[in-house]
Symmetry: C2
Subunit: 207 residues, 2 copies
Amino acid sequence: MFQLFYTPHTCSLATHIALVDARAAYALRRIDFSKTEQRSPEFLRINPKARVPALLTPRGVLTETPAMLAFVAHSYPEAALTPFDDPFRFAEIQAFNSYLCSTVHVAHAHRMRGYRWADDAGAITAMQKKVPESVGACFELIDRHILRGPWVMGDAYTIADPYLFTLAQWLEADGVDPSLVPRVAEHRERMLSRESVKHALAEEMAI
Amino acid sequence: MFQLFYTPHTCSLATHIALVDARAAYALRRIDFSKTEQRSPEFLRINPKARVPALLTPRGVLTETPAMLAFVAHSYPEAALTPFDDPFRFAEIQAFNSYLCSTVHVAHAHRMRGYRWADDAGAITAMQKKVPESVGACFELIDRHILRGPWVMGDAYTIADPYLFTLAQWLEADGVDPSLVPRVAEHRERMLSRESVKHALAEEMAI
């Protein structure tokens, strides 16, 4: 049994979808940012970084989406969410997921979490202003150079797909016109038609 | 044979050290930022992100340090650089390396690459000002909560170690006093005594 510490509308959705895809046994533990629960002593014992997501497993806690996704896939090999028997293909998926966490999510985070990188109010406003351009450039690169279709890695659905879908949820709010990244937009629609995605989204809203 | 596209003083050093650790056959291909070679048509064919590092392998190109490190380790299992037979331990290493790329390196990048996230000169100065605090907080978390010692994951040297060492090279320039993160500083010294690290550093400076 896994416990996923999550908050709606955050990147925890990626691991949530993967848990459903894997038919894993899991429980959701919602962390309420409005009550700063991510800084509660209880949660800091789970994740001293004071962030979601975190995954409590029988072996201990994991954080960081690329690692959690790989572990879920590894724990349920019958779901075939990643090709562990092919180190190069696996590395390609890890490269994509690393790009999402280190560049795409970071560009997005400058809209609402600029205080991480500057104290000055004017600087935070300047960061927000550039988000449509910086996030847009990331998704254009994905659209033109990486996304193979119909899934990120081609014919096989993998742990790259729920992660891309999760960040693509924020396109409009980040000021990026989805019609400029048509293959990403199409991927998002394809994901929305999956039962696992519908289930995860409904579950996050229901609690 | 691998080809590593690298630039001295960047995070490409992590993969370079791992290649030496693995006793891999590799060639170094230096990318000169002062000539904006990272934006040359030749390099954009290798990596459309216009960044180092990139690893040309017999199967194709890989980017993103966590993925490249995992692939080097996977390609040379006799070097035992990561425990692929233990999915949880492997995920812990991936979690650490994801934290380095998505949070630690990003905090550092606000010192010299603020233009990625704002156009305003005042904003870029405000970002630079916060780097000692934001990078310092990351290394304090690593020092107190993650680094097990003597190596990142404990007794076994893994692909987490060259990556931590690479980012810890920048502590002083980022305005972080190494004495405030004594276990990280000690890890850095331990790494510097390794022949693979000495070899990689000498090779980067010699070309």
